[in-house]
């Protein structure tokens, strides 16, 4: 039995939902006729799931969603927006406000129950994943962003949307591009002070999959990177707000990357079989020796050809690979289509290799 908060100004519909959710689902239902009252009830005793109408006098459902997400007590509860506004723009607005699902009225009871069960199962079931995963390589062109984007999407599938992907590149990072998102706003516009989860929330983008994104500036920042102290504050705030955080770092050990490494639960160091990449990885392992226990090596084959000599590379790097990602010819098309492989082709070799890696993350 779960506790479900229903916020809807229509008395008849509220009562109907109470009957359906209690009698058919066996859930405990808390009813609220408006946004402010609903928030008061949610903050006093957080529910396991909230069903929120959009068109309500005084406070819209979008505002309710944002307030629930901004409060640490309710930030991670699944939210279903149930609204008569059923256009694609409304779905985008609901997801951007923090909802996990967008259902259009009139909805069948069967459909409502199915969604409620699905959301509760996603929240309660499966292995727990969580923490901060930093993806890193000091050698460019080894596929760090590709892996970070696909891993974050896999985590979002497991964590019902409570996952954020942060792009720390000061030189026009490509996370937003890969996901087909316009990088506006981005972290270059963050205010220098008050970097808590509430302050950062308006700067996050939402992908259709439910993944949240902190995008990098569209144009390269000239002569500057993140302000001193900003990176750590941003990462702390995101880690506080989200169950899992994936960080795509630039190819240098600057203050932002080091803040990410220090706060990470796991660091994925990406390497290819190319000699320069291997040499860079050896140097990186030495530089990050202090954080050795959270470092994992990921071998990524970014060019076609025979499989890389895994054993020889492991010998050179003096540690085993946590994952070996094979070359996937579909990857370049996935970027062009703005549809990462784990979504566009879940059975692709890259998708399968990363799925195994994600299972072990934060465990």
């Amino acid at each position: 039995m779960a506790k479900i908060l229903v916020i809807d100004d229509e008395a008849e519909l509220r009562e109907l939902m109470r009957l359906v959710l209690t009698r058919r689902g066996g859930h405990q239902v808390v009813l609220s006729a408006g946004g402010r009252d609903g928030l008061k009830k949610a903050f006093a005793d957080p529910p396991d799931l909230a069903i929120v109408d959009v068109m309500m006098p005084g406070m819209t459902g979008y505002e309710v969603c944002r307030a629930l997400r901004d409060n640490p007590k309710t930030a991670s509860i699944p939210i279903i927006i149930l609204t008569a506004r059923g256009q694609p723009v409304d779905r985008d607005a609901a997801l951007a406000a923090g909802a996990d699902e967008h259902l259009v009225k009139p909805v069948t009871m069967a459909m409502l129950m199915e969604k409620v069960d699905e959301m509760l199962a996603r929240r309660g079931g499966g292995e727990e994943v969580g923490g901060t995963l930093v993806m890193l390589s000091l050698r460019g062109g080894v596929g760090v962003t590709t892996l970070a984007v696909n891993i974050a999407l896999l985590l979002a599938q497991k964590e019902a949307g409570e996952v954020c992907l942060a792009d720390l590149s000061p030189a026009s990072g490509h996370v937003a591009l890969y996901l087909g998102l316009r990088p506006e706003p981005h972290w270059g516009k963050l205010p220098p002070d008050a970097l808590d989860p509430q302050a950062i929330a308006p700067y996050l983008l939402r992908h259709d999959s439910g993944l949240w994104v902190l995008a990098a500036p569209y144009y390269p920042l000239v002569g500057r990177t993140m302000e001193p102290g900003t990176a750590r504050a941003v990462l702390d705030a995101l880690a506080q707000r989200f169950a899992a955080l994936v960080v795509d770092t630039p190819s240098l050990l600057d203050e932002a990357t080091m803040a990410a490494v220090e706060t990470a639960s796991d660091v994925g160091l990406v390497v290819t079989a190319e000699p320069a990449s291997v040499q860079t990885a050896i140097g990186t392992l030495r530089a990050l020796k202090t954080w050795d226990d959270k470092l994992s090596l990921i071998l990524n084959q970014v060019t076609p050809g025979p499989p890389p000599p895994v054993s020889a590379l492991e010998k050179a790097l003096k540690r085993p690979f946590a994952a070996v990602v094979p070359f996937d010819p579909a990857q370049s098309q996935a970027v062009a289509r703005r549809t990462p492989l784990v979504i566009g082709d879940p059975d692709a070799p890259l998708s399968q290799a990363l799925r195994g890696l994600v299972e072990g993350f934060g465990g």
Binding site: L16, V54, M55, R85, A93, P106
Partner: protein, 173 residues
Amino acid sequence: MEERLGSNWLVADFFTNRYRISGRLDVRHKKLAAQLNDHTTAFLQIENVYISNIETPAEIIASHEVAVLRKGNISAAVVQRQEDGLLREQTYGSYLGTYLRKVFLAVSSYEIEGYLRLSGKLDLRTVLTTGTDTFFPVLDGKMGSAVRPGTVFSGGAILVNKEHVGVFFVEEE
């Protein structure tokens, strides 16, 4: 019969040149099409009204308990379920002997494509001039906004105001 969380109220999106107005109306005694085509009044009363600018159609800029819309200003009304947008004579077993014809219309600042359900040969002039109904349904309709390219509103039916139709195309059979 499908069990729905709904009532005798129908929620529809009404589009004028500048606004998207979402509201509910009582359809117990008169369907939406009949209310829009009722020439005894030039106005349509809706409740629980939420208004968006057409440039930002998901952003609610105002809400009111009750509003009265001048029907002549409504370019189109979008409903999710086809049956909620049909004319009276198109319901209750009137599917026999009818066929669907794909159409494209430019209506004020919108472009609409969908299907007309017809029982005889299509004559464009007849659709626009014959009969007393001002609004006619375009089924499985998609409506693009000229002021915000890329934004599409869709519904099981779009009730289009004949007076606002600027261009009317029919696709080849």
